[in-house]
């Protein structure tokens, strides 16, 4: 196993410890759940990193149709969806105790995030519809490039036009001062750590898929 994986393991252990132990300012309604920002938000960052990776490998596949690029595109899309699911579930639990409901249709970011997940579910469904390997890889790659372009619109552009319960989701608050400095101390390392973790899971995933492909190229993934 490569060294960077051990660094990620130690890094994230420190992030989890720090996330629980540091002093955080008193924020009404949120109270101690403000610590969720260290774990909920990085899930989405990891998802973006994976979907971007997936898109890059889809473009590379269209440039030179080698099976490994298709395998990597699929593996990273799956890992991205896993992190997205974690983001949805943690967000839902957090919403119950701060916004008072598990799910609300008044919150655009929540619903559009679920829609983004559905777009990637469609990617996997589309893949399963083809028996011919080259055809599947090519059409899936084209769809995947379309899919990733919806992400910034669904999760940033559209929610900013509407009123949102997410702090700083409406208007144009990018890198504004609404997140307390103490929280950022853990939040940024957490984002970095979970993105690195997503690459670790993706690494295992695409290597496993490549081994499977080498043993039996005909097998559907």
């Amino acid at each position: 196993m490569k060294v960077w994986k051990y660094i990620v393991a130690i890094w994230l252990t420190l992030v989890i410890g720090g996330g629980f132990l540091i002093y955080i300012p008193e924020i009404p309604i949120l109270e101690q759940t403000a610590r969720n920002i260290f774990f909920h938000v990085p899930m989405w960052m990891a998802m973006y990193a994976m979907f971007l990776t997936s898109c890059i490998y889809s473009i590379r596949y269209l440039n030179s149709p080698e099976p490994i690029f298709d395998i990597k595109a699929e593996a990273s899309a799956r890992v991205g969806m896993m992190f997205g699911l974690c983001g949805l579930l943690t967000g839902s639990l957090w919403a119950r105790f701060t916004w008072g409901t598990w799910w609300t249709f008044a919150e655009p970011k929540m619903n559009l995030a679920a829609l983004a997940m559905m777009i990637y579910v469609a990617y996997l469904v589309l893949r399963s519809a083809f028996d011919d390997e080259d055809k599947r890889a090519k059409i899936a790659a084209v769809y995947n490039i379309f899919a990733v372009t919806t992400i910034p619109f669904l999760l940033y552009v559209v929610p900013r036009q509407l009123t949102s319960l997410h702090p700083g989701a409406d208007g144009n608050p990018a890198f504004s001062e609404i997140t307390a400095a103490e929280l950022r101390l853990i939040l940024y390392p957490a984002m970095l750590g979970f993105i690195a973790l997503s690459f670790w899971v993706y690494d295992i995933m695409h290597r496993y898929q490549s081994v499977r492909y080498k043993i039996n190229p005909e097998q559907e993934s």
Binding site: I16, G17, F20, W200, D203, Y208, V211
Partner: protein, 79 residues
Amino acid sequence: MQIDSTAVVDTLTQAYSDVWAGQESLQEANAFIAFMYSNDLIYVVLGVTLIIWSVLLFFMIRVDKKVASLEEKLNSEEQ
């Protein structure tokens, strides 16, 4: 050595009494237990999270190594 344990130890009335026999008072608890009780029990949550994280890590490292050995096997077969 306990010779007549059933007669000596009355487990029932103690186990079903209002006070749980295993519950220590904070004064007589050792430093670790006292620490875990402090700050509204937040350290218990941290402990649970760290247990989950370490088991998950252990599992991932194992799978990673298994895939690596499979890759090695495949590569040596090809040559």
